[in-house]
């Protein structure tokens, strides 16, 4: 069951289309193929989850574009929002 959307194939995050509790499965499609990962934390509806480990200071990509940088290390499956992502403008 697909419950997340990947905007561009090189994105670091997906957007969940249903709230996913910690330990729940996040399921998305990339170029017609289905992938899944476990949510490391709760991910609220329409919020982002990391697809890979991201080091502190690293660029975070969504829509194939830079949307900010990680303000602390982010683990795969973790909720990505104001607590760990900040604007670079």
């Amino acid at each position: 069951m697909i419950n997340a959307v990947l905007m561009a194939s090189n994105d670091d995050v997906v957007t969940v289309t249903q709230a996913v509790p910690a330990g729940g499965e996040i399921c998305y499609q990339r170029e017609g193929e289905t992938f899944s990962l476990a949510a490391a934390t709760d991910v609220p509806l329409y919020h982002k989850a990391a697809l890979r480990d991201l080091a502190e200071g690293s660029s975070v990509i969504k829509y194939g574009e830079h949307i900010g940088h990680a303000t602390r290390p982010i683990g795969r499956g973790e909720h990505v929002h104001t607590q760990n992502l900040s604007s670079t403008l």
């Binding site: 697909i2 959307v5 905007m7 957007t15 289309t17 499609q29 017609g32 609220p44 509806l45 329409y46 919020h47 982002k48 969504k62 829509y63 574009e65 830079h66 949307i67 900010g68 990505v80 929002h81 104001t82 992502l85 900040s86 604007s87 670079t88 403008l89």
Partner: protein, 385 residues
């Protein structure tokens, strides 16, 4: 790819065939409306025409002349009062720069009252309607289509469903030789570096960048700090974290093709491909600028839903929110929520939207037309004089 449109003597192509009656100023709006009620002509409401400073008068004239010049209009009757600041000669000068189509002008003070104005107006409109009825649809290449890209009442689904689908449709239209217009400069604040890279030349990229920063400066001078109040608390609760993310989600509806030019608010678009119109993010005032620029059709993406429409052009409502599509069924035309559930790909939905646009060009009515919605707003810098 082709659609059945109306070829005008000025070279424009229309997908509707309106005879419009427009008040030359707000004081003559009642007379213009009465003429429309009795004749079935299209009422083009105009809130301005008097008591504006030079900048605002110029913007008003740019929009009103552009709406009348739009290919969807066969001809027009302007009904003035007589003493207003924009007189017949100024209207005609602005209109004649854009089109040679039939435009008539009468005024209440010269005609001798309301009754005589309505009676004379009805005669002039009957003549225009008779001529308009003789116009026939002809096969026109899709490259003659100009589609405005607008959004309003957005929700989280806008950024990850419908704006992405519309971006795909925009790319398809551009690749077929057509024109699409992105607008709403304040919503691009935060995406200025991305727009800069998307100019077809470094000069156009710089124009895009400068337009966004100039818009931001104007808002700052007026006490509005767009960069530091966005994303709003509501946006953040909905999952948007940074300004870059919000702005990219918005400009995403323009797809991926390079920008060919930057136009001022309501300026007539004369280049093919994707272009940018520098103007307000106020939905209706922005929609009017797209139609004044020549868009025969506007695709308006929404998450929460809005019934907005225009007297001149179909305003097609598209949403990625499946609940909105059902709950507000009588105002929503296109639902892209299948991209969220994975039932359909963005590519398939982008193709569906393009085919639907072609049907609307051929004459299929959108909900805003069926509902008879004809909103009007024109941006202004100052208050009335």
């Amino acid at each position: 790819m082709h659609f059945m449109g109306y070829r005008r003597t000025d070279g424009h192509v229309g997908i509707r065939n309106h005879v419009v009656v427009m008040p030359g100023c707000i004081c003559s709006a009642g007379a213009a409306r009465k003429i429309c009620e009795k004749s079935g002509a299209t009422y083009l409401y105009n809130p301005n025409g008097c008591a504006q400073d030079a900048r605002d008068t110029a913007m008003t004239l740019e929009i009103l002349s552009g709406l009348i010049a739009n290919g969807n209009v066969y001809g027009a009757l302007i009904v003035g009062l007589g003493c207003e600041s924009i007189q017949e000669a100024r209207y005609m000068e602005a209109i004649r720069k854009k089109t040679d189509k039939p435009v008539r002008y009468i005024s209440i003070q010269k005609e001798g009252g309301l009754g005589r104005t309505v009676a004379h107006g009805l005669e002039l409109v009957a003549q225009l309607q008779q001529e308009a009825r003789a116009c026939r649809r002809e096969s026109c290449d899709i490259s003659e289509l100009i589609v405005g890209l607008e959004c309003g009442g957005s929700d989280p689904t806008s950024g990850f469903s419908i704006n992405v689908v519309l971006g795909n449709t925009s790319d398809r239209l551009v690749d077929l030789g057509g024109t699409t217009i992105l607008c709403e400069t304040p919503e691009a604040i935060g995406a200025e570096n991305i727009l800069k890279r998307r100019g077809c030349t470094p000069q156009v990229g710089q124009q895009l960048y400068d337009a966004v920063l100039a818009n931001e400066r104007r808002h700052l001078e007026a006490g509005e700090d767009i960069r530091n109040v966005n994303p709003s608390p509501g946006n953040k609760a909905g999952g948007l974290t940074t300004l870059e993310e919000k702005s990219i989600g918005c400009v995403h509806k323009s797809g991926t093709r390079p920008f060919q030019a930057v136009y001022s608010y309501g300026q007539m678009v004369d280049k093919k491909g994707l272009v940018f119109m520098d103007g307000t993010a106020y939905d209706v005032a922005s929609t009017m600028s797209l139609i004044a620029g020549g868009a025969q059709l506007v695709v308006f993406t929404t998450g929460l839903g809005t019934p907005v429409g225009s007297a001149i052009a179909p305003v097609l409502k598209a949403t990625g929110n499946g609940h909105t599509a059902q709950w507000l069924e009588d105002i929503i035309d296109f639902d892209s929520s299948a991209s969220i559930t994975g039932e359909k790909t963005v590519e398939a939905l982008g193709d569906e939207l393009l085919k639907y646009i072609c049907r609307v060009c051929d004459g299929e009515l959108v909900k805003a037309e069926i509902n008879g919605i004809s909103d009007m707003a024109i941006d202004q810098m100052g208050s009335y004089c």
